[in-house]
């Protein structure tokens, strides 16, 4: 295979002084799937932004087919056939899917080509979708479609621009396993047509499954590039993190005690007013982890929000340690030692423009122990924040750093630290490791298990089936706003079996346990 793109000795210093790349080399061969891995903040996204012309390297050269090129902006990159799907969606929410796809390259008509040609737009998009099997409702506003479809829109955008080299920055972080499979099918189809793919992920399983070669970055430097066939996840993770990483969570069998949370016949509506929970009943006992599995959009989000008081219920009851939670405000519920790690850490889980310390004291600023007279006790807060950062290994200069400047993994650690620092009796954790590197995953998982062993009731919601299976003692499967099965997480339980329930194809035999659960 010929070398299509080469980045040589790339350095990048951001205006705020962060050295994100410190001599990176990368070679991309034509027609390959090239995986890029590394810890959070290793400089993967930065490198790709430079390749796509969004950032300018401080020094170093980029070559296309052996010729040095300069990329003044995305337009230049598009000329060389580059396309990029960004880690955080680059979509305009109030525009429609098709407007987003053609944005900047609209088909035009009329005098001086002044007007949009909506007919041509529709035709071209329909054809594109048919060719690559990526279906999205073209006239829907982007703000109304689910993440999986947003991802497709991003890929369609790239294809529409005729890109031959496609950069995918953590495309699977927000996808369900099914959606990931579909994405991989599309990627394989593209490669078969001669496209070149650069693929960033934290999931080594995916690296092994789909890539031809893999480059490992660490702290802004290239460690090495390996043939995927000639390596294994253990080796990659050792190169990334610099030590052995455990892939299975070590945990003892659960010793469940009294029920902490019991939910009965819970109903609630989604944002548009349609029923999202249609009578959910479940129970979590102290010292156990209940995993919630399900294809995203089957009511998991609403379930968590209703229990934590962020969404009103329309029927049913929630009891927590013998007290009624229904109708209480989020503030009251949080004050009752309910911890909640929300699925969306960027907006709900953290205030990016506030400092780390400010993010950490969300539950404590009203606490007299953190007061001095009518004021906040700055010294106490500082001590607290520093302790938390130490315990949870949050890597940042100090506690006054804006949360937004942390890498995803570190930010997630801040959120987890805050929720665990209140010693919750009930801990509800949504997507705890989305977009987080393997070292941090290991850490977060072990913290969750520690809490369970400390006697907390834990609910884990994750789109990552493997994560649910690794952490849970029992697994409840949600389908269309109902719990269709509650399964004991034993050695015999397989992903396939859970998958069947997730798709609504459950069998009678397993429904037995489901009924049992309802009887409680």
């Amino acid at each position: 295979m010929s070398v299509l793109l080469e980045m040589k000795n790339i350095h990048k210093v951001y205006p705020n002084g962060t050295a994100a790349s410190r001599g990176v080399d990368l070679q991309i061969h034509e027609g390959e799937i090239h995986a890029l891995v590394g810890e959070n903040g290793a400089g993967k996204s930065t490198l790709m932004k430079m390749l796509f012309g969004l950032e300018t390297p401080t020094s170093g050269t980029i070559e296309y087919k052996g010729e040095p090129i300069t990329l003044g902006g995305p337009r230049d990159a598009i000329k060389y056939g580059l396309g990029m799907v960004h880690q955080h969606f680059m979509l305009v929410p109030s525009l429609t899917v098709s407007e987003n796809i053609v944005l900047g390259e609209e088909p035009k008509q009329g005098p001086l080509s002044l007007f949009r040609d909506r007919g041509a737009e529709e035709r071209q998009i329909a054809q594109l979708m048919a060719t690559y099997g990526l279906k999205v409702e073209p006239q829907a506003k982007v703000e109304t479609i689910p993440v999986g479809q947003k991802q497709r829109v991003e890929i369609l955008k790239v294809l529409y621009r005729g890109a031959r080299i496609i950069i995918l920055d953590e495309p699977t972080a927000v996808l369900t396993p099914q959606e990931t499979d579909e994405l991989f099918d599309s990627i394989k189809a593209l490669v078969a047509e001669g496209y070149t793919i650069i693929f960033i992920t934290h999931k080594l399983r995916e690296v092994m499954e789909i890539s031809d070669r893999v480059t490992v970055l660490k702290a802004g430097k290239t460690i090495t590039t390996l043939m995927t066939k000639a390596t294994n996840p253990e080796e990659i993770s050792r190169l990334m993190v610099g030590r052995e990483v455990l892939f299975r969570v070590k945990k003892r069998p659960a010793e469940p005690k009294d029920a902490v949370l019991s939910v009965q016949g819970l109903q609630a509506a989604d944002d548009k007013g349609a029923p999202a929970l249609r009578g959910v009943s479940l129970e979590i006992r102290a010292g156990e982890v209940l995993g919630i599995a399900g294809v995203e959009g089957n009511g998991q989000t609403e379930l968590v929000e209703t229990i934590t008081g962020l969404r009103p219920s329309t029927a049913g009851r929630i009891r927590y340690l013998g007290e009624e939670l229904t109708g209480r405000s989020a503030g009251e519920i949080r004050a009752m030692k309910v911890g909640h790690v929300p699925e969306d850490r960027q907006t709900a889980g953290a205030s990016l423009t506030s400092t780390i310390a400010e993010n950490l004291i969300l539950d404590h600023y009203r606490n007299p122990a953190f007061r001095r007279g009518p004021f906040l006790n700055a010294r106490k807060i500082k001590e607290f924040a520093q302790t938390m950062m130490q315990i949870f290994d949050v890597r940042a200069r100090d506690e006054e750093v804006a949360a937004g400047s942390l890498s995803g993994g570190n930010l997630q650690k801040v959120v987890i630290a805050r929720e665990l620092s209140k010693n919750p009796k009930l801990l509800i954790v949504s997507q705890p490791t989305r977009g987080v590197d393997i070292g941090a995953i290991e850490f977060i998982h072990s913290e969750i298990v520690k809490r369970r062993d400390g006697g907390a009731a834990v609910m884990v919601v994750s789109a990552e089936l493997s994560e649910v299976m690794a952490l849970s003692d029992r697994i409840a499967v949600m389908y269309e706003g109902e719990i269709v099965a509650v399964l004991d997480n034993t050695e015999e339980l397989t992903e396939e079996e859970i998958g069947r329930y997730m798709l609504g194809l459950g069998t009678e035999t397993k429904h037995k346990e489901h009924k049992e659960q309802e009887a409680i």
Binding site: F52, L54, G73, P74, R75, I78, M84, H86, F89, M90, L91, V92, P93, S94, L95, E99, L103, G104, E105, E106, K108, L114, F115, R116, K157, A269, D271, K272, G273, L310, R311, P312, S329, A330
Partner: protein
């Protein structure tokens, strides 16, 4: 009073007055709209209108041609907007500060130029008047009802109404319009697609300058034939309110301007009716109270439409 309002409604005087009050607000608000959807809220409409009002009448009377005057007014206003862009986009001045600066500047520079060029203070009424012509529709003007409704309005009234259509087409029917919205809503997304974000912002400011320019020209060469210092007297801020009242969409802005125009027209009638017992200050409040009421009405109605109650109120 009611009788007076009724009779003026019937003989369409109310409509004619309404259109005159509506026009400058509508034009300036459309300008505000375009910059606002591109993410650069233009607080400087007031100053821009003053600058254009002065420039257009000065150039119009010097050249003896209203069209040249209007063009000059628009040009001056666009130029100031580009300077605003330079300060806010290039030098990072907060766009709101830049807008206030334009307002202060507009008031000062017009008075200064008036005294330097025409050696007058306070106001300038050229001896040669070059008003923006009124449109008399040949046959229609003789039809009783239709004639008064459609004929005899200043050309700028029609331009303002057409400008609504123009903005609809510009924003929703052209690629440029989509780019405007993208730049305002998700600049980094726009940038990642190679859309020149800053250039779009400059252009949006230029549009707002063009429309504010038309509005200003109408004040000095349409509604009146003179420039009076600070003659906008808050119109730019009302236009800003209408941008937001109209939910950032041209038709909404038309409705907002009509509501405001109607309230002003009715206020004028109330104010000129003999023997109203209401103190004048309270009569003058009517347009503002009506705007408030309209805002609340639209919001409450919208909220009734959505099924989910806001999760957390007080």
């Amino acid at each position: 009073m009611w009788q007076s309002i009724w009779s003026q409604l019937m003989d369409l005087t109310l409509v004619v007055v309404l259109l005159r009050y509506m026009t400058p607000i509508l034009l300036a608000a459309l300008g505000g709209l375009i910059s606002d959807i591109a993410g650069v809220l233009n607080i400087g409409l007031e100053g821009l209108m003053l600058i254009s009002a002065f420039t257009s009448i000065a150039v119009g009377s010097a050249s003896g041609n209203w069209l040249v005057g209007v063009a000059a007014g628009m040009g001056a206003s666009i130029l100031i907007c580009l300077c605003m862009g330079f300060f806010s986009i290039k030098l990072g001045v907060d766009i709101i500060i830049a807008g206030f600066a334009v307002n202060i500047f507009g008031s000062g520079i017009t008075i200064f130029l008036m005294s330097k060029i025409f050696h007058v203070t306070g106001n300038y009424s050229p001896s040669e008047r070059t008003p923006i012509p009124a449109v008399k529709l040949p046959v229609i003007q003789d039809i009783p009802f239709l004639g008064k409704l459609l004929s005899g309005h200043s050309l700028m009234v029609w331009i303002a109404l057409l400008a609504v259509l123009f903005c609809v087409v510009l924003i929703y029917r052209t690629p440029y319009g989509v780019h405007l919205r993208a730049v305002g809503e998700a600049p980094s997304a726009a940038k990642s697609l190679g859309i020149p974000v800053n250039r779009i912002r400059y252009s949006a400011l230029a549009w707002s300058g063009a429309f504010a320019g038309l509005a200003g020209a109408y004040l000095s060469m349409g509604m009146t034939s003179m420039f009076v210092k600070d003659m906008t007297a808050g119109t730019g801020f009302l236009a800003l309110a209408v941008v937001l009242l109209g939910k950032r969409n041209p038709v909404g802005i038309l409705i907002g301007s009509l509501i405001f125009g109607l309230a002003s027209a009715v206020t004028t009638i109330v104010q000129t009716t003999e023997g109203t017992a209401i103190p004048s200050q309270f009569v003058q409040m009517i347009p503002y109270l009506v705007t408030l009421a309209a805002l609340v009405f639209f919001e409450v109605r919208k909220r009734k439409g959505s099924a989910v109650p806001a999760a957390h109120t007080l």
